[in-house]
């Protein structure tokens, strides 16, 4: 995947976040290693090219936010708002992620190999999010489109006030939020889930048939035709 001949190393013992992000956006290189991130915020934000960025250590808030086209890997943990508002490309964290993974994401793929905490996939609008471990409370809150795959357990109030996203959970769900219900797992869902697991590189270990599906009961205010014209 990496073209090692053109890889550039950015050491954050010497460079500020701003310098690193400017270099990522303006340089002609296609592959980067970021060393010693030490929990810095806003790393690799706003990328808009098919770059390959490897963060070697823990990242702070909003890592790879607003990502388009780029592939960002964090070999460590990530703080709040990983890949928030991601449009395309992919973001992978090898450790755990804090709250609000993929918040408002419109597209692309976010993979967390460990656990993600509260509000994972909040207001997701088309992004696919795959969590290797557990998610905290209020995952997929007000989710509108896309898929959330949880290979472990989900905390309280999964899918609260959900619109149309697809939620797949392999382990236990502590409780479902308002208007979120379990739904039948039909062949089409198993196929789409298999494709998602394959895209995350997890399909050899984890079978799509072992998941349960959750989604919107479509009973809240917005789903009532009488309210369609309401401001």
């Amino acid at each position: 995947m990496n073209d090692r001949r053109n890889q550039m190393t950015l050491d954050m013992q010497e460079l500020s976040v701003r310098r690193v992000n400017q270099t990522l956006r303006s340089n002609g290189e296609q592959a980067f290693r970021i060393l010693h991130p030490r929990g810095a915020h806003s790393l690799a934000c706003g990328l808009n090219a098919p770059l390959d960025v490897s963060v070697e250590g823990h990242a702070g808030y909003y890592c790879a936010g607003m990502n388009q086209h780029a592939t960002v890997t964090v070999d460590g943990n990530a703080g709040t708002g990983l890949a928030e508002n991601i449009m395309s490309g992919s973001v992978r964290v090898l450790g755990n992620a804090s709250q609000s993974v993929g918040a408002s994401g419109h597209g692309g793929l976010v993979v967390v190999e460990g656990n993600a905490s509260a509000r994972c996939g909040i207001s997701m609008k088309g992004v696919d999010i795959i969590i290797g471990g557990n998610v905290g409370h209020m995952a997929a809150f007000m989710a509108q489109s896309g898929s959330l795959v949880v290979c472990g357990d989900a905390g309280a109030d999964l899918g609260d006030s959900i619109y149309e996203a697809r939620l797949f959970v392999r382990g236990d769900v502590e409780s479902l939020g308002a208007d979120c219900v379990e739904k039948e797992m039909r062949n089409e869902h198993i196929e789409s889930l298999q494709a998602l697991l394959a895209s995350a590189g997890m399909s050899s270990k984890i079978k799509a048939e072992s998941f349960r599906r959750y989604g919107s009961a479509r009973k809240l205010y917005n789903f009532t035709i009488d309210n369609a014209g309401a401001a």
Partner: protein, 299 residues
């Protein structure tokens, strides 16, 4: 927004590093709370008692106060001053009487701590400068908590700076804001608790103080706090032999905990933990909502 750090050392041979490591952690949390800062250090306990005092106006004559208090209590004492703070040390455990006497006779003085081990220092302005002014780097001990404040519920004055004392050798720092603090303050005042500020976090401290006065241990007092406090909070609480962390039921405010064989650390953000030795190999997790985490010295 505010910043919190807590550091608890597991091995006695690391105690000389406590201040230096805590200062580095505090430095990383400057952006989260540039208004003011404070810290508590738990050093070697004294046989008698000690009080950390703070003069809000900076006009207190510590020598005069010391002499008056000494003649009122009739016990051997010593004192040292640092900037607008003073630490009074007593040969016998007269912490409660000394505190009461000062509150009654020295209205300009805030009693920031009372007990055997803890010393609290706080100030307005750049947190790193506050740390320097009070010599955080060179302090030694078993555990320490620091706080950087971005004010929301009350004014940027030294009285509003954390940590807030919650009783003998216990104190609290807070990131968040409470919504039922006025009602709770009135209730606690009726129970006999006294408050020195309009600050919401001081109410949380007073609440714990009241609960522990009713016989709760620290963990039980925190379990009750989850029921009775309304609002957003991550609290770090220091006690004579350890520290505790608790987050509100929806975990609004951030917190990260990391643990190695040598130390346990908590901070609002990971970057404050990243400065510790061996942080890369630490076990790192986010505390769950409504769950009390605590560590205590085993020796």
């Amino acid at each position: 927004m505010c910043g919190i750090t807590g550091l608890f050392l597991k091995r006695p041979e690391l105690r000389n590093e406590l201040g230096l490591w805590s200062a580095r952690m505090l430095h990383e949390m400057r952006d989260r709370g540039p208004d003011s800062a404070g810290f508590v250090v738990y050093g070697e306990p004294v046989a008698g008692a000690k009080l950390t005092l703070l003069s809000e106006t900076g006009t207190v004559d510590w020598g005069e106060l010391f002499a008056s208090l000494k003649s009122a209590l009739g016990v051997e004492m010593s004192y040292q001053t640092i900037e607008d703070h003073a630490v009074f040390e007593f040969e016998k455990d007269v912490a409660a009487d000394a505190r009461e006497w000062i509150l009654a006779n020295a209205p300009d003085v805030i009693v920031s701590s009372a007990g055997k081990s803890m010393e609290v220092f706080k100030g307005v302005g750049d947190p790193a400068e506050v740390g320097k002014r009070f010599g955080l780097e060179s302090r030694t001990g078993t555990h320490a908590i620091t706080h950087t404040r971005m004010a929301t519920e009350s004014a940027v004055i030294i009285r509003g700076s954390h940590p807030f004392s919650t009783g003998r050798d216990t104190c609290l720092v807070h990131n968040g804001s409470l919504s039922n603090h006025n009602q709770l303050r009135r209730f606690l005042q009726l129970q006999g608790e006294s408050f020195q500020t309009e600050n919401d976090s001081e109410v949380a401290a007073g609440y714990l103080s009241w609960r522990m006065g009713q016989g709760d241990n620290l963990d039980a007092a925190l379990e009750h706090a989850i029921e009775d406090l309304d609002g957003f909070y991550t609290f770090a609480i220091g006690s004579l032999d350890g520290f505790a962390v608790v987050r509100d039921p929806i975990a609004c405010k951030p917190a990260v905990i990391a643990e190695t064989d040598d130390w346990v650390a908590m901070a609002s953000e990971f970057r404050a933990i990243a400065v510790l030795p061996d942080a890369r190999n630490a076990n790192i997790w986010e505390p769950e909502p409504s769950r009390v985490y605590s560590w205590h010295q085993t020796q």
